[in-house]
Point group: C2
């Protein structure tokens, strides 16, 4: 495994592998790897010849008020974890190299980014689509994989890839959860022990909602109200949004069908967590 | 020479040539080729193995009020001209394929696009940077060339390529002029015979301005005023802008130096023409 820190070297390396007919698989991350990331790496490993993981805490997807500075970082630990998963290349650039002043160019996906997390984090998805465009131009992957915890991000990136004709196949990997159901996230680290216990209400509520749908409930407002009331019972929670939306358009749905997803963002103390579940009305 | 109309086929063709170590040169055009385009093709031909010319009248760079519908088109003529220049591939997609509904993704370069043509054509450069991004993802060139008549476009595209880490070398080719000095443009076709004669005032004024600078004039306002007054003497002209700017930042300059460019846009009747000259203060 090698670590590449220079953009030009990464491009030249990928170009060389591509010219040899090697298939490049790519797992973009912000580092501080957990089982969620590792599952994406394991899903990608058998599908490619050269597996590239990028580690870059992307400043343009954080608002000035957000947690860019305290976002957890531990490159040595990440490096070991990648080596254990037979990663071939870590791409680990610094921020000055990725956004040299005066930086001016952004990629924006309209409509899909106005809602859900995009409504409470203006500019967030513009930062995500911009950095992924840059990373795709640097890493030159054939395949890239994103986690389904960031449900809206995956929808937005798939739209970007189609619209801008990126010749990259986009895959997603399932949410990986702690034993008590909490979706794995680097931000879980911010929780106190007490908040960590309270955070389990999120997936408990989503699971109960899934059961209600399985039992026949199709009214999205009934489901939303149940989740909101359930989460609000817990002292340190503050709901950002709870939405039942179409999996492709992200538009709210009235009548739940098998293309519906419940997505939510909830503050536990000052930590904002997201989660989502698909609703299966077919079985 | 082959003509490719399908995006996927163009991508697969370019991918094949790249994997064989062939160098791909790219000349993006809106068709209705004139000597300006042909000079770019001739400049690129010896630098690459596979020369691709795209012909696509890009709707997203036209405002609703502009001349998208009447923009001249003549594919058969373009095809013959390309064959004469030993072009290998014409990429000639249709609009529905390039912008399938609901299209939502745009590339935007800030600051550089607010001024000059960007001020009078809001959204124009967003359309240009978006289509060039798409074409780069489809044609996968090593090298691409743009004409210097579209001075601001070249500056904006170079900035985009640096900011988004496109692994494409950008070149520019000099303005090609008619015998009387008028810069070649597909839009010259809109001029009546009388307007065509009046249009020569544009380059005459720019040449005179260059001479004034060569003779020692360094005050950009003196130069601007000369050009404006000179063009305003001609009955059917209406000045959109005349600016003396830095060649990289596009900011107005007070004191002319060898990084200064005079750029202008002038209506002759209802036809908007652009032109520019570099100012050489060194000799």
């Amino acid at each position: 495994m090698i670590t590449i820190r220079e953009i030009k070297q990464m491009q030249a390396t990928s170009e060389k592998y591509r010219s040899e007919g090697k298939k490049i698989g790519f797992v973009p991350t912000m580092g501080f790897l957990h089982e969620g990331h590792l599952s994406l790496i394991r899903q990608m490993r058998p599908l490619c010849d050269i597996l590239v993981v990028s580690i870059f805490v992307n400043p343009t997807q954080f608002a000035p008020s957000e947690d860019l500075e305290q976002y957890p970082r531990d490159f040595e630990r990440d490096e070991k974890l990648c080596r254990n998963e037979n990663v071939d290349i870590i791409f680990y650039p610094d921020s000055g190299q990725m956004y040299p002043a005066p930086y001016a160019t952004y990629v924006h996906v309209e409509n899909l980014t106005d809602t859900l997390c995009g409504a409470s984090r203006p500019g967030h998805f513009r930062g995500v689509t911009t950095i992924v465009t840059k990373l795709f131009h640097i890493v030159k992957p054939h395949l890239a994989i994103f986690g389904e915890k960031d449900f809206q991000q995956a929808v937005v990136l798939k739209k970007m890839v189609v619209d801008l004709n990126f010749d990259v196949k986009i895959m997603t990997g399932p949410i990986i959860r702690e034993e008590d159901g909490l979706a794995m996230s680097s931000r879980n680290k911010y929780l106190t022990a007490n908040q960590r216990r309270q955070a389990t209400i999120i997936y408990q509520s989503l699971q109960k909602a899934q059961e209600m749908v399985k039992a026949g409930e199709r009214n999205s407002e009934v489901i939303r109200k149940y989740i909101i009331d359930n989460i609000n019972r817990i002292p340190e929670t503050k709901i950002d949004y709870v939405a039942v939306v179409n999996e492709t358009t992200l538009k709210p749905v009235v009548q739940i069908d098998h293309h519906s997803v419940i997505a939510l963002a909830v503050y536990i103390g000052s930590t904002r967590l997201i989660d989502n579940v698909r609703l299966n009305t077919i079985r």
